[in-house]
Amino acid sequence: MKNWIVLLLCLSSFASASDINALYQKGAAAYAAKDYDKAIKLYGDAASELAARGEKSFDLMYNLGCASFRKGDLASARLYFEEARRIQPLNPSVKRNLAILRSRLSDKIKIPPAGAVENAYRHVYQSIPYPVLEGVLLFFWLLVFIFTGLLISGRFSRKPLYYGLGVSLIFLLMVFGLANSRAGELTRREAIVFQPEVEVFSEPSTSSSLLFRIHSGTLVGLEGEQSGFVHIILPDGMNGWARKQSFKAIR
């Protein structure tokens, strides 16, 4: 009986995976036929299936961005491209598409340039896939405790164990730093403006001073939330409070 249940579970999982693949292929066919609404629907269904399993897909997010762009929905395209960029930050297609998309938005926001060291460090942790970073982190974490356990046992020569422990600790800290920076990027609280024009106030109230206006498709950082307003910050440092329903968060 138990074997049958396991077999059924495996089959259902396989069937679901084949569904996602089928949706993905149908989405590509709809995109090629310039039926962008249908492509968005199919890719969106596949993405929802994956999300239900706690998974994401760069390909799906990227294709959703392309289809939304072709449809003229720049805000949705920005949202999907940004989500794809979180998964593969150095992917050249996403970079190119985002550059073209930004050039068509009404808000031109200058991003302050980062230093050479910061850029190099970012390139290192972005070029290593996040699951690999997590695996290496786990490896060194366990290695530290293996050496500690051997030292506690007192059965082996201490000197090589101390060296091993020291080297493992150094690598653990390095990998932790990289993984932490990457995790920070993945979980950064950002959102896209989804209304034609959003007014940003100095306080979480429309009766406070109007500071500036932002427009559809602009990327903002989210800092806090209060009474239906979110505290937003732009890449150039301008910040203020705007109505929460004007934004969609990047996941």
């Binding site: 598409n97 073209i100 500690t148």
Partner: protein, 602 residues
């Protein structure tokens, strides 16, 4: 007499007290006055807010505006104290220079002044403003910085100075044309007309040309000086400020009336001249819209222009560059004329210029020419053609849109040192030029990629949290299961070196405290105990001679035996005859070195 004398004494005593008491009794008065009423639209006048007999802090109104008047200067504050008949009187005033904006009867409102914490209000003043200039400047004797006593000793000869009337000194706003089209260039000049000597001249504040785009002209000092006759009266005139303006809207557009500050007097005199302010007379520009429909390619240029395109050579070798010069000359708004040269020409590589050069004629700044230089590099042999180009503009004289066309230019390209392959460094063939921009294509394939954040999974969290404890517990388990720890003799034998190091570290503490005898005794004891642990023999039974013999029998190298014997004997000797010099020898290190080598042998 005595009574009178007492009265007189009392008066002497009471007088200062009464005087002091009388001081604050003087009433505080706050007034506002104007220097002239009525005034002309081209005049300026002073508004004075005065506080008399005040006691305490005075706060004048701040950042206010007076409807129908412009504040062109001020406030300037003056303060005075007078003692007349033993009465002290203090007054303070603030003076503003105002300029009317239009003719009519206007009211200067009441001002609120706080004196010693109390609020006072001035009376509103009704001022009549008439067109033109009404004020005749009375000659006031200018005061020299040396004229401390306000007498005539240092004064310049004011008797020779003429009164400065509105007729003797005025400023006109002159336009190069009274009627213009939207975007048409019009020169605005402010010309001073004077029958008096002028020592200094300055503009109070730069005018705001609302409804116009403007272009500065370099020379804004006295230019175009000439003598002119107006109604039979001769005036010395000069342009003191000028700009080129381009109207941006239609209708009757008033030009701004800036206020100029003028010092009347001999410019070569040491003494400062008489300061007066003059507002420019008004001027209106009538602006018409451009006729519709506008032709395709019309960039908004209004004026009369000529177009010419030329090249510096029409016979070149392949790879050599030629310069094409595009010149638009004439009269009008050059800013609205874009570069009219093809972005790409068959057979040429085109390097477009970064910025054009605009030159205006000094005598007539509306006229000028705008020049672009475009570098062309021929990339194939034969007769290449630079196609003609055109500009479209509106001519306000003929009231028609005009198209100027330049002819095509033939360029003969011969074979040179360069070949089509090496014209572009590092390439063979033509450089790929982007002609459009679009997003990349979607990603296709059998299945989409999967991204899983394994740190969110249960097994990862369990591995991070639980497995380390397993290793620690395993370590303790192995330690507990260590057979050497169950047999004390075996434990001491296998851990003799570790026990030696513990004892040596104890000796180091003695060394730190400066206890020389204890230090040597401890080092000696650590060495002997090492052999006691190693061979399972009581410490008391072991002497260094016996240890040496035992080591010999175990075929330990003689130099190693000598080293350990030397350490123990040295320590024994020093522990009984301690000397400070002996502490200089690092006996502890010697002992550790010897035991470390023995550990490998035994």
């Amino acid at each position: 007499m005595a009574l009178n004398g007492r009265k007189s004494d009392m008066a002497k005593f009471l007088l200062p007290i009464l005087l002091i008491l009388a001081l604050p009794l003087r009433a505080t008065e706050v007034t506002s006055t104007v220097s002239a009423n009525p005034v002309g639209t081209e005049d300026t006048f002073q508004l004075t807010i005065n506080v008399d007999g005040y006691d305490g802090d005075v706060e004048f109104p701040r950042s206010f505006s007076i409807p129908d008047f412009s504040i062109v200067a001020g406030p300037s504050t003056s303060e005075s104290t007078q003692i007349i008949n033993w009465k002290v009187s203090r007054s303070i005033s603030e003076v503003f220079t105002l300029s009317p904006r239009k003719a009519g009867t206007f009211q200067i409102p009441s001002f609120k002044v706080q004196v010693g914490g109390k609020i006072y209000r001035t009376q509103p003043i009704s001022v009549t403003v008439k067109k033109g200039s009404l004020l005749s400047q009375r000659p006031s004797r200018p005061r020299s910085p040396f004229d401390m006593f306000d007498d005539n000793f240092f004064n310049p000869p004011v008797v020779t100075q003429q009164p400065v009337t509105a007729d003797s000194l005025f400023i006109r706003c002159e336009l190069s044309k009274a009627i213009a089209y939207v975007g048409e260039a019009v020169e605005v000049s402010y010309r001073i007309y004077s029958r008096v000597n002028i020592a200094r001249l300055g503009i109070q504040e730069l005018p705001d040309f609302t409804g116009f785009l403007t272009e500065d002209l370099g020379q804004n000092h006295l230019i175009d000086r000439k003598r002119m006759m107006i109604n039979g009266v001769a005036y010395n005139t000069a342009v003191i400020f000028r700009k080129i303006v381009f109207p941006t809207k239609t209708g009757r557009l008033p030009l701004p009336q800036p206020v100029f500050s003028i010092q009347v007097g001999n410019p070569n005199s040491f003494f400062p001249g008489q300061p007066i302010q003059r507002k420019s007379q008004s001027a209106i520009l009538m602006v018409y819209p451009l006729p519709a429909p506008q032709p395709a390619g019309f960039s908004g240029a209004v004026g009369q222009f000529q177009l010419s395109v030329s090249v510096n050579q029409d016979h070149v070798k392949m790879g050599d560059s030629i310069t094409a010069t595009v010149v638009v000359s004439g009269e009008g708004d050059f800013n609205t004329i874009p570069l009219v040269f093809p972005e790409s020409i068959d057979g040429f590589r085109v390097f477009r210029p970064s910025s054009p050069k605009l030159e205006r004629e000094p005598a007539n700044p509306l006229r000028g020419k705008k020049t672009w230089k475009v570098i062309l590099v021929p990339q194939k042999m034969g007769t290449l053609v630079i196609p003609g180009t055109k500009i479209i503009f509106f001519n306000p004289v003929t009231k028609k849109y005009v198209t100027r066309v330049s002819g095509s230019i033939d360029v003969s390209v011969e074979k040179g040192s360069a070949t089509p392959e090496n014209i572009l460094p590092g390439t063979s063939g033509n450089e790929v030029v982007a002609v459009g921009k679009d997003i990349d294509y979607i990603r296709t394939g059998a299945a989409p990629d999967r991204f899983v954040d394994i740190s969110e999974s249960t097994w990862y969290r369990v591995s991070m949290a639980a497995i380390p404890f397993i290793f620690i517990l395993l370590g303790f388990f192995l330690r507990w299961r260590d057979p050497s720890r169950r047999d004390p003799v075996e434990y001491r034998r296998s851990h003799a070196a570790a026990l030696f190091r513990n004892r040596i570290s104890q000796a180091a503490k003695f060394l730190k405290k400066g206890k020389g005898r204890d230090y040597y005794q401890q080092v000696s004891k650590a060495c002997i105990s090492y052999f006691s642990d190693k061979w399972n023999r009581p410490v008391l039974d072991l002497k260094i001679d016996e240890i040496a013999r035992e080591l010999e029998s175990r075929e330990v190298p003689p130099d190693l035996i000598k080293a350990i014997v030397d350490v123990v004997e040295y320590c024994d000797f020093e522990s009984y005859t301690p000397s400070n010099n002996a502490l200089n020898r690092d006996i502890m290190k010697d002992a550790e070195s010897a035991v470390s080598k023995l550990e490998k042998v035994l």
